[in-house]
Amino acid sequence: MAALTKSAQNARIARGHKNRTAGDWAALILLIIGGLVMLFPFIVLLLNAFKTTAQYNSSGPLSLPTHLQFDGLMKFWDRVNYPEKLWNSVWTSGLVAVLAVILSMFNAFALGIGRVKGRRWIVLLIMLANMLPQEAMLYPLYIMFKQIGLYNSPWAIVIIFTVIQSAFGTYLLSSVYGTFPKAILEAATIDGASRWTIFTKIVFPISRPTLSVMLVFFFIWTWNEYMIPMAFLIDNSTQTIPIAVASLSGDRLMDVTTIAAASLISIVPTLVFYLIFQRTLARGITTGAVK
Protein backbone atom coordinates (compact mmCIF):
# COMPACT_ATOMS: atom_id res chain seq x y z
CA MET A 1 0.00 0.00 0.00
CA ALA A 2 2.79 2.35 0.96
CA ALA A 3 4.62 1.65 -2.28
CA LEU A 4 1.44 2.16 -4.23
CA THR A 5 0.81 5.49 -2.53
CA LYS A 6 4.35 6.56 -3.25
CA SER A 7 4.15 5.77 -6.93
CA ALA A 8 0.74 7.39 -7.28
CA GLN A 9 2.13 10.44 -5.61
CA ASN A 10 5.10 10.58 -7.94
CA ALA A 11 2.80 10.23 -10.91
CA ARG A 12 0.74 13.09 -9.57
CA ILE A 13 3.75 15.31 -9.16
CA ALA A 14 4.97 14.38 -12.62
CA ARG A 15 1.65 15.25 -14.18
CA GLY A 16 1.66 18.37 -12.03
CA HIS A 17 0.44 21.42 -13.85
CA LYS A 18 -1.27 19.62 -16.69
CA ASN A 19 -3.77 18.16 -14.32
CA ARG A 20 -5.97 21.26 -14.14
CA THR A 21 -9.67 20.64 -13.86
CA ALA A 22 -12.52 22.97 -14.72
CA GLY A 23 -12.86 23.66 -11.03
CA ASP A 24 -9.26 24.85 -10.82
CA TRP A 25 -9.85 27.28 -13.65
CA ALA A 26 -13.07 28.51 -12.07
CA ALA A 27 -11.18 29.18 -8.82
CA LEU A 28 -8.47 31.06 -10.69
CA ILE A 29 -10.93 33.20 -12.61
CA LEU A 30 -12.83 34.00 -9.42
CA LEU A 31 -9.59 35.04 -7.75
CA ILE A 32 -8.66 37.26 -10.69
CA ILE A 33 -12.04 39.01 -10.65
CA GLY A 34 -11.67 39.57 -6.91
CA GLY A 35 -8.18 40.88 -7.50
CA LEU A 36 -9.44 43.43 -10.00
CA VAL A 37 -11.96 44.69 -7.46
CA MET A 38 -9.13 45.04 -4.94
CA LEU A 39 -7.04 46.98 -7.44
CA PHE A 40 -9.84 49.20 -8.72
CA PRO A 41 -8.97 52.22 -6.54
CA PHE A 42 -5.35 51.90 -7.58
CA ILE A 43 -6.34 51.87 -11.25
CA VAL A 44 -8.42 54.99 -10.76
CA LEU A 45 -5.44 56.60 -9.06
CA LEU A 46 -3.18 55.69 -11.94
CA LEU A 47 -5.64 57.08 -14.50
CA ASN A 48 -5.74 60.46 -12.86
CA ALA A 49 -2.26 61.06 -11.53
CA PHE A 50 -0.92 62.20 -14.88
CA LYS A 51 -3.86 64.24 -16.12
CA THR A 52 -4.18 67.98 -16.22
CA THR A 53 -6.80 69.55 -14.01
CA ALA A 54 -8.56 70.82 -17.09
CA GLN A 55 -8.85 67.36 -18.57
CA TYR A 56 -10.12 65.96 -15.28
CA ASN A 57 -12.83 68.60 -15.12
CA SER A 58 -13.95 68.10 -18.69
CA SER A 59 -13.90 64.32 -19.07
CA GLY A 60 -14.20 63.00 -15.53
CA PRO A 61 -12.19 60.51 -13.49
CA LEU A 62 -12.47 57.47 -15.76
CA SER A 63 -11.10 58.72 -19.05
CA LEU A 64 -7.62 57.77 -20.15
CA PRO A 65 -5.12 60.60 -19.92
CA THR A 66 -4.51 62.03 -23.40
CA HIS A 67 -0.89 62.78 -22.72
CA LEU A 68 1.36 62.29 -19.74
CA GLN A 69 2.05 65.31 -17.64
CA PHE A 70 3.84 65.41 -14.34
CA ASP A 71 2.62 68.72 -12.94
CA GLY A 72 0.79 67.14 -10.01
CA LEU A 73 3.80 65.01 -9.19
CA MET A 74 6.24 67.91 -9.36
CA LYS A 75 4.01 70.14 -7.27
CA PHE A 76 3.81 67.59 -4.48
CA TRP A 77 7.50 66.68 -4.70
CA ASP A 78 8.68 70.27 -4.23
CA ARG A 79 6.07 71.28 -1.79
CA VAL A 80 6.70 68.63 0.85
CA ASN A 81 10.38 67.99 0.09
CA TYR A 82 9.68 64.38 -0.76
CA PRO A 83 13.21 62.91 -0.44
CA GLU A 84 13.45 64.18 3.14
CA LYS A 85 10.08 62.65 4.09
CA LEU A 86 11.05 59.44 2.35
CA TRP A 87 14.25 59.13 4.34
CA ASN A 88 12.41 59.84 7.62
CA SER A 89 9.89 57.13 6.89
CA VAL A 90 12.46 54.60 5.68
CA TRP A 91 14.84 54.73 8.60
CA THR A 92 12.22 54.88 11.37
CA SER A 93 10.10 52.06 9.91
CA GLY A 94 13.12 49.94 9.08
CA LEU A 95 14.63 50.27 12.51
CA VAL A 96 11.33 49.56 14.24
CA ALA A 97 10.75 46.46 12.10
CA VAL A 98 14.15 44.95 12.87
CA LEU A 99 14.17 45.81 16.58
CA ALA A 100 10.60 44.65 17.10
CA VAL A 101 11.18 41.29 15.37
CA ILE A 102 14.26 40.64 17.51
CA LEU A 103 12.50 41.69 20.69
CA SER A 104 9.41 39.58 20.03
CA MET A 105 11.52 36.57 19.10
CA PHE A 106 13.29 36.56 22.45
CA ASN A 107 10.09 37.28 24.34
CA ALA A 108 8.21 34.52 22.61
CA PHE A 109 11.04 32.02 22.90
CA ALA A 110 11.16 32.59 26.62
CA LEU A 111 7.39 32.38 26.96
CA GLY A 112 6.33 29.81 24.37
CA ILE A 113 9.04 27.20 24.40
CA GLY A 114 10.10 27.71 27.97
CA ARG A 115 6.44 27.24 28.93
CA VAL A 116 6.60 29.69 31.77
CA LYS A 117 3.78 29.39 34.28
CA GLY A 118 1.10 32.01 33.85
CA ARG A 119 2.45 32.81 30.44
CA ARG A 120 -1.00 33.76 29.23
CA TRP A 121 -1.10 36.61 31.70
CA ILE A 122 2.33 37.83 30.70
CA VAL A 123 1.29 37.78 27.06
CA LEU A 124 -1.88 39.65 27.96
CA LEU A 125 0.11 42.24 29.86
CA ILE A 126 2.40 42.72 26.90
CA MET A 127 -0.60 42.87 24.60
CA LEU A 128 -1.82 45.87 26.58
CA ALA A 129 0.43 47.84 24.28
CA ASN A 130 -1.82 46.75 21.45
CA MET A 131 -5.05 47.14 23.34
CA LEU A 132 -4.75 50.69 24.58
CA PRO A 133 -6.41 53.15 22.25
CA GLN A 134 -3.70 55.39 20.90
CA GLU A 135 -5.55 58.56 21.72
CA ALA A 136 -5.52 57.50 25.38
CA MET A 137 -1.73 57.22 25.29
CA LEU A 138 -1.23 60.49 23.50
CA TYR A 139 -1.42 62.88 26.45
CA PRO A 140 0.78 60.91 28.89
CA LEU A 141 3.34 60.02 26.23
CA TYR A 142 3.44 63.61 25.08
CA ILE A 143 4.27 64.81 28.58
CA MET A 144 6.77 62.03 29.23
CA PHE A 145 8.68 62.49 26.02
CA LYS A 146 8.73 66.22 26.47
CA GLN A 147 10.38 65.77 29.83
CA ILE A 148 13.19 63.64 28.47
CA GLY A 149 13.61 65.92 25.48
CA LEU A 150 12.60 63.45 22.80
CA TYR A 151 9.47 65.28 21.77
CA ASN A 152 9.53 66.13 18.07
CA SER A 153 12.27 63.55 17.61
CA PRO A 154 11.90 60.53 15.32
CA TRP A 155 13.51 58.47 18.10
CA ALA A 156 10.33 58.82 20.10
CA ILE A 157 8.50 57.14 17.22
CA VAL A 158 11.11 54.37 17.06
CA ILE A 159 10.83 53.64 20.80
CA ILE A 160 7.03 53.77 20.96
CA PHE A 161 6.42 51.60 17.93
CA THR A 162 9.10 49.04 18.74
CA VAL A 163 7.19 48.39 21.95
CA ILE A 164 3.76 48.38 20.30
CA GLN A 165 4.75 46.17 17.35
CA SER A 166 6.72 43.70 19.45
CA ALA A 167 3.62 43.23 21.59
CA PHE A 168 1.83 41.86 18.56
CA GLY A 169 4.91 39.88 17.52
CA THR A 170 5.27 38.29 20.94
CA TYR A 171 1.65 37.20 20.88
CA LEU A 172 1.81 35.77 17.35
CA LEU A 173 5.10 33.96 17.91
CA SER A 174 4.26 32.58 21.32
CA SER A 175 1.01 31.20 19.85
CA VAL A 176 3.01 29.52 17.11
CA TYR A 177 5.80 28.33 19.43
CA GLY A 178 3.18 26.96 21.79
CA THR A 179 2.16 24.45 19.11
CA PHE A 180 5.76 23.50 18.49
CA PRO A 181 6.30 19.72 18.63
CA LYS A 182 7.83 19.00 22.01
CA ALA A 183 9.47 15.83 20.77
CA ILE A 184 12.03 17.74 18.72
CA LEU A 185 13.01 19.93 21.64
CA GLU A 186 13.29 17.01 24.00
CA ALA A 187 15.41 15.11 21.51
CA ALA A 188 17.69 18.13 21.16
CA THR A 189 18.04 18.51 24.91
CA ILE A 190 18.93 14.85 25.25
CA ASP A 191 21.57 15.32 22.57
CA GLY A 192 23.02 18.00 24.83
CA ALA A 193 21.98 21.10 22.92
CA SER A 194 21.99 24.30 24.93
CA ARG A 195 19.02 26.64 24.88
CA TRP A 196 20.91 28.97 22.59
CA THR A 197 21.64 26.14 20.12
CA ILE A 198 18.00 25.09 20.20
CA PHE A 199 17.04 28.64 19.49
CA THR A 200 19.40 29.26 16.57
CA LYS A 201 19.42 25.77 15.05
CA ILE A 202 15.81 24.67 15.42
CA VAL A 203 13.35 27.33 16.48
CA PHE A 204 14.67 30.16 14.36
CA PRO A 205 14.79 28.27 11.03
CA ILE A 206 11.36 26.77 11.49
CA SER A 207 9.70 30.05 12.37
CA ARG A 208 11.46 31.90 9.54
CA PRO A 209 8.30 32.29 7.40
CA THR A 210 6.43 33.81 10.32
CA LEU A 211 9.37 36.05 11.16
CA SER A 212 9.62 37.41 7.64
CA VAL A 213 5.91 38.11 7.56
CA MET A 214 6.30 39.99 10.83
CA LEU A 215 9.18 42.03 9.46
CA VAL A 216 7.12 43.05 6.45
CA PHE A 217 4.09 43.86 8.59
CA PHE A 218 6.00 45.90 11.14
CA PHE A 219 7.68 47.94 8.47
CA ILE A 220 4.44 48.69 6.68
CA TRP A 221 2.42 49.30 9.83
CA THR A 222 4.97 51.70 11.22
CA TRP A 223 5.23 53.39 7.87
CA ASN A 224 1.47 53.85 7.78
CA GLU A 225 1.04 55.01 11.38
CA TYR A 226 -0.80 58.23 11.53
CA MET A 227 -1.99 59.53 14.87
CA ILE A 228 1.11 59.36 17.05
CA PRO A 229 3.55 60.58 14.37
CA MET A 230 1.16 63.41 13.59
CA ALA A 231 1.10 64.46 17.22
CA PHE A 232 4.81 63.94 17.88
CA LEU A 233 6.48 65.18 14.75
CA ILE A 234 5.38 68.77 14.54
CA ASP A 235 8.46 69.89 12.72
CA ASN A 236 8.21 69.80 8.96
CA SER A 237 11.68 68.28 8.64
CA THR A 238 10.91 65.25 10.83
CA GLN A 239 7.54 64.32 9.33
CA THR A 240 6.83 61.06 7.54
CA ILE A 241 5.19 60.54 4.17
CA PRO A 242 1.63 59.72 5.32
CA ILE A 243 1.51 62.92 7.36
CA ALA A 244 2.65 64.92 4.36
CA VAL A 245 -0.07 63.36 2.20
CA ALA A 246 -2.73 63.83 4.84
CA SER A 247 -1.91 67.49 5.11
CA LEU A 248 -2.93 67.80 1.48
CA SER A 249 -6.50 66.69 2.01
CA GLY A 250 -7.17 69.65 4.25
CA ASP A 251 -5.78 71.96 1.64
CA ARG A 252 -8.61 73.22 -0.52
CA LEU A 253 -6.27 74.65 -3.09
CA MET A 254 -5.04 71.18 -3.99
CA ASP A 255 -6.65 69.78 -7.09
CA VAL A 256 -7.65 66.17 -7.50
CA THR A 257 -4.90 65.28 -9.93
CA THR A 258 -2.25 66.52 -7.51
CA ILE A 259 -3.79 64.43 -4.75
CA ALA A 260 -3.83 61.39 -7.02
CA ALA A 261 -0.20 61.95 -7.94
CA ALA A 262 0.78 62.47 -4.31
CA SER A 263 -1.00 59.29 -3.23
CA LEU A 264 0.65 57.35 -5.99
CA ILE A 265 4.16 58.50 -5.23
CA SER A 266 3.66 57.93 -1.52
CA ILE A 267 2.86 54.24 -1.95
CA VAL A 268 5.73 53.47 -4.32
CA PRO A 269 8.29 52.86 -1.51
CA THR A 270 6.11 50.39 0.42
CA LEU A 271 5.18 48.68 -2.83
CA VAL A 272 8.84 48.23 -3.75
CA PHE A 273 9.61 47.03 -0.24
CA TYR A 274 6.81 44.48 -0.35
CA LEU A 275 7.81 43.18 -3.78
CA ILE A 276 11.39 42.67 -2.62
CA PHE A 277 10.28 40.75 0.45
CA GLN A 278 7.64 38.84 -1.45
CA ARG A 279 10.48 36.52 -2.51
CA THR A 280 11.52 35.98 1.09
CA LEU A 281 7.94 35.10 1.95
CA ALA A 282 7.87 32.48 -0.79
CA ARG A 283 11.26 31.06 0.16
CA GLY A 284 9.85 30.24 3.56
CA ILE A 285 7.95 27.36 1.96
CA THR A 286 10.99 25.11 1.69
CA THR A 287 12.60 25.99 4.99
CA GLY A 288 9.36 25.83 6.93
CA ALA A 289 8.40 22.16 6.73
CA VAL A 290 8.67 20.23 9.96
CA LYS A 291 10.02 16.79 9.21
Binding site: T5, Q9, H17, R20, G23, D24, A27, L30, L31, G34, G35, M38, V44, N57, G60, L62, V123, L124, L125, L128, A129, M131, L132, Q134, E135, A136, M137, L138, Y139, P140, M144, I160, V163, Y171, S175, V176, G178, P209, V213, I220, N224, Y226, M227, P242, I243, V245, S249, V256, I259, A260, S266, I267, Y274, L275, L281, G284, I285, G288, A289, K291
Partner: protein, 281 residues
Protein backbone atom coordinates in the same frame (compact mmCIF):
# COMPACT_ATOMS: atom_id res chain seq x y z
CA UNK B 1 10.40 49.88 28.82
CA UNK B 2 6.98 48.31 28.57
CA UNK B 3 6.15 49.75 31.96
CA UNK B 4 7.22 53.10 30.87
CA UNK B 5 5.47 53.37 27.52
CA UNK B 6 2.33 51.44 28.35
CA UNK B 7 1.56 51.01 32.02
CA UNK B 8 2.10 54.62 33.07
CA UNK B 9 -0.10 56.09 30.33
CA UNK B 10 -2.75 53.48 31.11
CA UNK B 11 -2.86 54.36 34.81
CA UNK B 12 -2.71 58.04 34.07
CA UNK B 13 -5.68 57.70 31.78
CA UNK B 14 -7.70 55.84 34.40
CA UNK B 15 -6.88 58.56 36.92
CA UNK B 16 -7.96 61.32 34.53
CA UNK B 17 -11.29 59.61 33.97
CA UNK B 18 -12.15 60.43 37.59
CA UNK B 19 -11.28 64.08 37.23
CA UNK B 20 -12.60 67.24 35.74
CA UNK B 21 -9.77 68.28 33.50
CA UNK B 22 -9.89 70.85 30.73
CA UNK B 23 -6.27 70.55 29.68
CA UNK B 24 -5.13 73.87 31.13
CA UNK B 25 -5.82 74.02 34.84
CA UNK B 26 -4.62 70.99 36.80
CA UNK B 27 -7.12 68.11 37.03
CA UNK B 28 -9.71 68.36 39.82
CA UNK B 29 -10.99 65.13 41.39
CA UNK B 30 -14.65 64.72 40.49
CA UNK B 31 -15.31 61.14 41.54
CA UNK B 32 -17.72 59.17 39.41
CA UNK B 33 -19.21 62.18 37.63
CA UNK B 34 -17.72 61.35 34.23
CA UNK B 35 -18.77 57.72 34.54
CA UNK B 36 -22.34 58.59 35.48
CA UNK B 37 -22.54 60.90 32.50
CA UNK B 38 -21.13 58.18 30.29
CA UNK B 39 -23.80 55.65 31.24
CA UNK B 40 -26.59 57.96 30.18
CA UNK B 41 -24.83 59.32 27.12
CA UNK B 42 -26.69 58.19 23.99
CA UNK B 43 -23.77 58.98 21.71
CA UNK B 44 -21.52 56.70 23.76
CA UNK B 45 -23.84 53.73 23.30
CA UNK B 46 -24.30 54.51 19.61
CA UNK B 47 -20.53 54.48 19.22
CA UNK B 48 -20.34 50.99 20.73
CA UNK B 49 -23.18 49.76 18.53
CA UNK B 50 -21.15 50.95 15.56
CA UNK B 51 -18.19 49.03 16.99
CA UNK B 52 -20.17 45.84 16.45
CA UNK B 53 -20.59 46.74 12.78
CA UNK B 54 -16.88 47.43 12.64
CA UNK B 55 -16.15 43.97 14.06
CA UNK B 56 -18.30 42.44 11.33
CA UNK B 57 -16.47 44.47 8.69
CA UNK B 58 -12.96 44.09 10.05
CA UNK B 59 -12.95 40.64 11.68
CA UNK B 60 -15.70 38.27 10.63
CA UNK B 61 -15.99 38.99 6.92
CA UNK B 62 -12.23 39.31 6.25
CA UNK B 63 -11.43 36.11 8.15
CA UNK B 64 -14.05 34.09 6.31
CA UNK B 65 -12.95 35.48 2.95
CA UNK B 66 -9.29 35.15 3.98
CA UNK B 67 -9.72 31.47 4.90
CA UNK B 68 -11.31 30.59 1.60
CA UNK B 69 -8.85 32.68 -0.41
CA UNK B 70 -5.75 31.38 1.34
CA UNK B 71 -6.71 27.76 1.01
CA UNK B 72 -7.72 28.28 -2.63
CA UNK B 73 -4.37 29.91 -3.28
CA UNK B 74 -2.40 27.32 -1.36
CA UNK B 75 -4.31 24.24 -2.39
CA UNK B 76 -5.34 25.09 -5.95
CA UNK B 77 -3.44 28.00 -7.44
CA UNK B 78 -0.03 27.12 -6.04
CA UNK B 79 -0.32 23.48 -7.00
CA UNK B 80 -1.89 23.78 -10.40
CA UNK B 81 -0.67 27.13 -11.65
CA UNK B 82 2.66 27.44 -9.86
CA UNK B 83 4.05 29.36 -6.88
CA UNK B 84 4.52 32.48 -8.92
CA UNK B 85 0.80 32.78 -9.70
CA UNK B 86 -0.03 32.29 -6.03
CA UNK B 87 2.37 34.94 -4.78
CA UNK B 88 1.21 37.43 -7.41
CA UNK B 89 -2.36 36.89 -6.27
CA UNK B 90 -1.35 37.32 -2.67
CA UNK B 91 0.40 40.59 -3.49
CA UNK B 92 -2.72 41.92 -5.24
CA UNK B 93 -5.01 41.11 -2.33
CA UNK B 94 -2.51 42.49 0.14
CA UNK B 95 -2.22 45.71 -1.76
CA UNK B 96 -4.75 47.82 0.21
CA UNK B 97 -2.79 47.01 3.37
CA UNK B 98 0.20 48.75 1.87
CA UNK B 99 -1.63 52.03 1.64
CA UNK B 100 -1.29 54.42 4.54
CA UNK B 101 -4.74 55.04 5.98
CA UNK B 102 -4.44 58.63 4.91
CA UNK B 103 -3.93 57.62 1.30
CA UNK B 104 -6.57 54.88 1.34
CA UNK B 105 -9.05 57.31 2.84
CA UNK B 106 -8.13 60.00 0.37
CA UNK B 107 -8.63 57.70 -2.61
CA UNK B 108 -11.78 56.09 -1.30
CA UNK B 109 -13.29 59.37 -0.22
CA UNK B 110 -12.69 60.62 -3.68
CA UNK B 111 -14.14 57.56 -5.43
CA UNK B 112 -17.31 57.83 -3.39
CA UNK B 113 -17.67 61.57 -3.35
CA UNK B 114 -20.84 63.08 -4.82
CA UNK B 115 -19.48 65.42 -7.49
CA UNK B 116 -17.35 63.78 -10.17
CA UNK B 117 -16.42 60.85 -7.88
CA UNK B 118 -15.43 57.68 -9.70
CA UNK B 119 -18.35 55.53 -8.52
CA UNK B 120 -20.94 58.05 -9.62
CA UNK B 121 -19.10 58.41 -12.92
CA UNK B 122 -19.28 54.64 -13.46
CA UNK B 123 -23.01 54.64 -12.68
CA UNK B 124 -23.54 57.44 -15.14
CA UNK B 125 -21.49 55.68 -17.80
CA UNK B 126 -23.58 52.51 -17.61
CA UNK B 127 -26.82 54.48 -17.66
CA UNK B 128 -27.71 54.22 -13.99
CA UNK B 129 -27.29 57.92 -13.40
CA UNK B 130 -30.33 58.11 -11.16
CA UNK B 131 -28.62 55.83 -8.63
CA UNK B 132 -25.94 58.44 -8.00
CA UNK B 133 -25.58 59.18 -4.35
CA UNK B 134 -23.49 60.96 -1.77
CA UNK B 135 -22.26 57.59 -0.56
CA UNK B 136 -20.37 58.61 2.55
CA UNK B 137 -22.28 61.78 3.25
CA UNK B 138 -25.79 60.45 3.78
CA UNK B 139 -26.82 58.60 6.95
CA UNK B 140 -28.46 55.72 5.06
CA UNK B 141 -25.31 54.62 3.21
CA UNK B 142 -22.42 56.08 5.21
CA UNK B 143 -22.02 53.15 7.61
CA UNK B 144 -22.36 50.42 5.01
CA UNK B 145 -19.86 52.09 2.71
CA UNK B 146 -17.45 52.66 5.56
CA UNK B 147 -17.78 48.92 6.26
CA UNK B 148 -17.09 48.03 2.63
CA UNK B 149 -13.96 50.17 2.70
CA UNK B 150 -12.81 48.46 5.90
CA UNK B 151 -13.35 45.01 4.36
CA UNK B 152 -11.35 46.11 1.35
CA UNK B 153 -8.53 47.31 3.58
CA UNK B 154 -8.52 44.26 5.87
CA UNK B 155 -8.68 41.22 3.58
CA UNK B 156 -4.95 41.09 2.83
CA UNK B 157 -3.99 40.74 6.48
CA UNK B 158 -5.61 37.38 7.31
CA UNK B 159 -4.71 36.13 3.85
CA UNK B 160 -0.97 36.69 4.25
CA UNK B 161 -0.88 35.34 7.81
CA UNK B 162 -2.92 32.25 6.91
CA UNK B 163 -0.75 31.53 3.90
CA UNK B 164 2.41 31.75 5.99
CA UNK B 165 0.81 29.38 8.49
CA UNK B 166 -0.10 26.91 5.76
CA UNK B 167 3.55 26.69 4.81
CA UNK B 168 4.16 24.76 7.99
CA UNK B 169 1.76 22.07 6.84
CA UNK B 170 3.27 18.97 5.33
CA UNK B 171 2.18 18.86 1.67
CA UNK B 172 1.96 15.08 1.87
CA UNK B 173 -1.06 15.46 4.12
CA UNK B 174 -2.93 17.07 1.25
CA UNK B 175 -1.67 14.50 -1.21
CA UNK B 176 -2.75 11.66 1.03
CA UNK B 177 -6.15 13.23 1.59
CA UNK B 178 -6.85 13.78 -2.07
CA UNK B 179 -5.76 10.23 -2.84
CA UNK B 180 -8.32 9.09 -0.33
CA UNK B 181 -10.85 11.00 -2.41
CA UNK B 182 -11.27 14.05 -0.22
CA UNK B 183 -12.46 17.05 -2.23
CA UNK B 184 -11.30 20.60 -1.73
CA UNK B 185 -13.90 21.37 0.92
CA UNK B 186 -13.11 18.25 2.94
CA UNK B 187 -9.40 19.00 2.81
CA UNK B 188 -10.21 22.52 3.92
CA UNK B 189 -12.13 21.31 6.98
CA UNK B 190 -9.82 18.45 7.92
CA UNK B 191 -6.38 19.91 7.24
CA UNK B 192 -6.39 23.63 6.53
CA UNK B 193 -8.55 24.76 9.44
CA UNK B 194 -6.93 22.77 12.26
CA UNK B 195 -3.37 23.44 11.14
CA UNK B 196 -3.68 27.20 11.05
CA UNK B 197 -5.77 27.46 14.19
CA UNK B 198 -3.14 29.48 16.08
CA UNK B 199 -3.08 31.99 13.23
CA UNK B 200 -6.87 32.21 13.16
CA UNK B 201 -6.89 33.07 16.85
CA UNK B 202 -4.18 35.67 16.47
CA UNK B 203 -5.88 37.31 13.50
CA UNK B 204 -9.30 37.26 15.17
CA UNK B 205 -8.01 38.82 18.36
CA UNK B 206 -5.80 41.46 16.77
CA UNK B 207 -8.51 42.42 14.28
CA UNK B 208 -11.12 42.63 17.00
CA UNK B 209 -8.86 44.93 18.96
CA UNK B 210 -8.23 46.98 15.84
CA UNK B 211 -11.96 47.13 15.10
CA UNK B 212 -12.77 48.31 18.61
CA UNK B 213 -10.06 50.95 18.43
CA UNK B 214 -10.61 51.96 14.81
CA UNK B 215 -9.89 55.62 14.37
CA UNK B 216 -7.97 56.66 11.25
CA UNK B 217 -10.49 55.72 8.56
CA UNK B 218 -13.40 57.19 10.49
CA UNK B 219 -11.48 60.36 11.19
CA UNK B 220 -10.47 60.80 7.59
CA UNK B 221 -13.58 59.58 5.77
CA UNK B 222 -16.66 60.59 7.72
CA UNK B 223 -15.61 62.28 10.98
CA UNK B 224 -18.21 60.10 12.66
CA UNK B 225 -20.98 61.65 10.66
CA UNK B 226 -23.31 62.48 9.23
CA UNK B 227 -24.67 63.14 12.71
CA UNK B 228 -23.48 60.20 14.77
CA UNK B 229 -24.19 57.54 12.14
CA UNK B 230 -20.58 56.34 11.89
CA UNK B 231 -19.20 57.46 15.25
CA UNK B 232 -16.93 54.96 17.05
CA UNK B 233 -15.63 55.10 20.66
CA UNK B 234 -12.12 56.03 19.66
CA UNK B 235 -13.22 58.93 17.54
CA UNK B 236 -15.73 60.06 20.16
CA UNK B 237 -13.07 60.22 22.86
CA UNK B 238 -10.75 61.98 20.44
CA UNK B 239 -13.31 64.74 19.91
CA UNK B 240 -13.66 65.07 23.69
CA UNK B 241 -9.88 65.19 24.16
CA UNK B 242 -8.95 67.60 21.44
CA UNK B 243 -12.04 69.45 20.31
CA UNK B 244 -14.24 69.99 23.37
CA UNK B 245 -11.21 69.98 25.72
CA UNK B 246 -13.16 67.67 28.02
CA UNK B 247 -10.06 65.66 28.78
CA UNK B 248 -11.56 63.96 31.84
CA UNK B 249 -14.60 62.80 29.91
CA UNK B 250 -12.48 61.72 26.95
CA UNK B 251 -10.34 59.68 29.35
CA UNK B 252 -13.48 58.01 30.71
CA UNK B 253 -14.54 57.00 27.20
CA UNK B 254 -11.13 55.62 26.32
CA UNK B 255 -10.87 53.83 29.67
CA UNK B 256 -14.25 52.21 29.03
CA UNK B 257 -13.00 51.19 25.60
CA UNK B 258 -9.81 49.76 27.09
CA UNK B 259 -11.83 47.73 29.59
CA UNK B 260 -13.92 46.24 26.79
CA UNK B 261 -10.79 45.43 24.80
CA UNK B 262 -9.10 43.80 27.80
CA UNK B 263 -12.16 41.65 28.55
CA UNK B 264 -12.40 40.54 24.93
CA UNK B 265 -8.69 39.67 24.94
CA UNK B 266 -8.96 37.63 28.14
CA UNK B 267 -11.90 35.68 26.74
CA UNK B 268 -10.04 35.05 23.50
CA UNK B 269 -6.83 33.82 25.07
CA UNK B 270 -8.76 31.61 27.50
CA UNK B 271 -10.51 29.89 24.63
CA UNK B 272 -7.26 29.69 22.70
CA UNK B 273 -5.44 28.07 25.60
CA UNK B 274 -8.24 25.60 26.11
CA UNK B 275 -8.26 24.45 22.50
CA UNK B 276 -4.47 24.25 22.49
CA UNK B 277 -4.61 22.00 25.54
CA UNK B 278 -7.26 19.77 24.04
CA UNK B 279 -5.01 19.50 21.03
CA UNK B 280 -2.13 18.22 23.11
CA UNK B 281 -4.15 15.58 24.85
Amino acid sequence: MLMWIIIIPACWNIYLSFTDYRGIKPPVWSGLKNWAKLMSDVTFWVSFRNSIWMIIAMVIVPILIGLVLSSLMFDVVQKRFGAKAASTMRAIYYFPQLLPISVAALVMGWIFRPENGALNAVLKAVGLGNLQHDWLGKPDTALIFLMLIMIWIQIGYPLVIFMSGLQRVDPELYEAASLDGANWWQRFLAITLPSIRPEIFVVALTCTIAALKVFGPVYMLTRGGPGTSTIVPSYYSYTQFFQSQQVGYGAAISTALTIVVVIVSIVFTTVQEKTAKEDEE
